[in-house]
């Protein structure tokens, strides 16, 4: 006789959350232990998504955080597992190399330009350094759409701040705005690993901001799958008192070395400099050409040469 509870083994996403309530006493081995609760709807802790009482009447304590959007979550047996799998699927492994560092003359920002989907190189000419406004730069690592959109959004907010307060926003403030937004979307699958670099009244500023909501102030950062290689070159060659040309060359070499060893990085090494007047693109060199510039081919000595008689 048909077994009402028999289900074909399936992935976690397809598991229905309601079973026939009675007669299902058999062991269903392919579900994990949370299936015990799956006959009723999953109770999720959405306290961080709800608007708190404080935002009623317009008291805006961290208005961004309170405005976090609420949406319907899929009803699956194991929501946490589903979420993990979804995030893993959505979040590319940040296949890129970006770096930025502060030195005497300002901030140097550099990145590669390869976009990869698994083993397929989808583009060699991606702009990974995003120009938020004439004195603020952001780097892209992670989801390209996420980075591009939220950087443009940040640009809008920075401009509005300028108009309202008649003064430019500080790098601290800009990075904090972005970090607060990303924090409010925490756990929803955004993938952003960015550095905000700029020059404001207090001098050069560099912050690392990511989609987990983390925000770090620092003088040297590298983000992406090629970052270990870039860090090696960057840290060994770094000195605060470099000139702009020396710093640009260091950044270029660090990106080149990362593209040499990391398969997910490649294309063109772009180098930008942020000074008191704003940012300026210094160079964009194909890493293949850089390879032969750094390691030119030495022709083999020929012992005997055949000549036409």
């Amino acid at each position: 006789m048909p077994n009402p509870c028999k289900q074909t083994p399936n992935t976690k996403e397809d598991a229905p959350s309601h079973f026939p309530s009675s007669g299902c006493s058999q062991e269903i081995p392919f579900h994990n232990s949370s299936s015990f609760f799956s006959h009723r709807k999953m109770k999720l802790d959405t306290s961080s998504l709800e608007s708190s009482a404080l935002t009623s009447r317009g008291i805006g304590i961290g208005a961004e955080i309170a405005d976090a959007p609420a949406f319907q979550v899929p009803e699956v047996a194991d929501f946490d597992g589903f979420q993990k799998a979804a995030v893993q699927m959505v979040k590319p492994a940040k296949g890129t190399t970006t770096l930025a560092f502060i030195f005497k003359e300002g901030v140097m920002v550099a990145a590669d330009s390869r976009a990869s989907m698994g083993g397929y190189i989808s583009s060699q000419s991606v702009k990974k350094i995003i120009e938020i406004n004439p004195y603020l730069l952001g780097t892209m690592a992670g989801g390209a759409a996420d980075c591009q959109f939220w950087h443009r959004n940040l640009g809008i907010k920075c401009r509005l701040h300028e108009l309202a307060n008649k003064r430019r926003i500080s790098v601290t403030g800009a990075s904090k705005l972005l970090a607060n937004i990303l924090y409010s979307y925490r756990g929803m699958g955004l993938s952003v690993g960015t550095m905000i670099a700029g020059w404001d009244e207090t001098g050069p500023g560099l912050y690392y901001v990511d989609s987990e909501g983390g925000r770090l102030k620092g003088t040297r950062f590298s983000v992406g799958s090629g970052s270990p290689y870039a860090y090696g070159v960057l840290d060994s060659g770094y000195s605060y008192d470099m000139s702009v040309e020396e710093a640009a060359e260091l950044a270029r070499r660090a990106i080149y070395h990362a593209t040499f060893r990391d398969g997910a990085s490649g294309g063109v090494a772009s180098v930008y400099h942020v000074g008191p007047e704003g940012w300026k693109k210094l160079s964009g060199d194909d890493v293949g050409e850089l390879h032969y510039k750094y390691y030119p081919v030495v022709p083999n000595t020929v012992e005997q040469e055949m000549v036409e008689v």
């Binding site: 304590i61 208005a63 961004e64 307060n165 500080s170 601290t172 904090k176 607060n180």
Partner: protein, 249 residues
């Protein structure tokens, strides 16, 4: 015109918002407040009605801190002031949280004025019945500022201003006698302005001085009495000097 003052969201035929104007009346009945901006010092002074014998005078502070570098004095309904001050204090901290920077005087004034305006354009609420004088130093440039807001939600920056009872006479005095001052001179100018309409004496005046380094400092009664005595002495000397040349001729 009587029909147009019940719900404040309604304009009168000749373009008035009566509730806002009535709120301004309430301000005019409130105690006098004066603010004077110097080059490195800003002074706020308010008239203090004599406290009842059993009342703890320290619990009726009329000049308050909004943040380390911003202070506020107001004239009008004191209960409304408390609400507005609390919201402003929260906004000062919220701003520090979201952009890691202290507010500028202009920003918090704009916020308070915006709040006051919101209550002139909402249903079922009445405007705040107070005008505020906001002083502070810009956290970056260090420049001193004095701003005033009113129940309609407008705000502007001033070198010296007054609000509340007899504010017109105080303002006239300030217009005649204002000059760029610093340090103790600014304090004296503020007290002289207030003395135009208030009975002299330390117990009828509350003065607070803000400097960039030390923030807000409330002056003690004795200090105020001493300065008042100085002012009286100067006035007497000026009177005597005026009489003396007449004798010579």
């Amino acid at each position: 015109m009587a029909r147009y003052d019940r719900a404040i969201t309604v304009f009168s035929p000749d373009g008035h918002l009566f509730q806002v104007e009535y709120a301004l009346e309430a301000v005019r009945k409130g105690n006098a407040a004066v603010g004077v901006r110097g080059t490195d010092t800003i002074v706020l002074g308010v008239e203090k009605k004599s406290t009842a014998k059993l009342q703890d005078s320290r619990s009726v502070r009329k000049i308050v801190n909004l943040d380390k570098h911003i202070a506020l004095a107001c004239a009008g309904l004191k209960a409304d002031a408390r609400v507005l001050i609390n919201r402003a204090r929260i906004e000062c901290q919220s701003h520090r949280l979201t952009v890691e920077d202290p507010v500028t005087v202009e920003y918090i004034t704009r916020y308070i004025a915006g709040l006051q305006q919101k209550y002139t354009q909402s249903g079922g609420v009445r405007p705040f019945g107070l005008s505020t004088l906001i002083i502070g130093f810009d956290p970056y440039t260090g420049a001193p500022s004095l701003y005033q807001t009113d129940p309609s939600g407008t705000f502007s920056a001033w070198k010296a201003n007054s609000t509340g009872r007899n504010s017109n006479s105080i303002r006239e005095f300030l217009e005649k006698n204002y000059k760029e001052t610093s340090g103790q001179e600014t304090v004296k100018l503020a007290i002289r302005a207030l003395l135009e309409v208030v009975e002299s004496g330390g117990k009828n005046i509350e003065i607070a001085v803000m400097t960039k380094e030390d923030g807000l400092r409330q002056l003690e009664e004795e200090e105020i009495d001493a300065i008042v005595a100085e002012i009286e002495a100067e006035k007497a000397a000026a009177e005597a000097a005026k009489k003396a040349p007449a004798k010579d001729t």
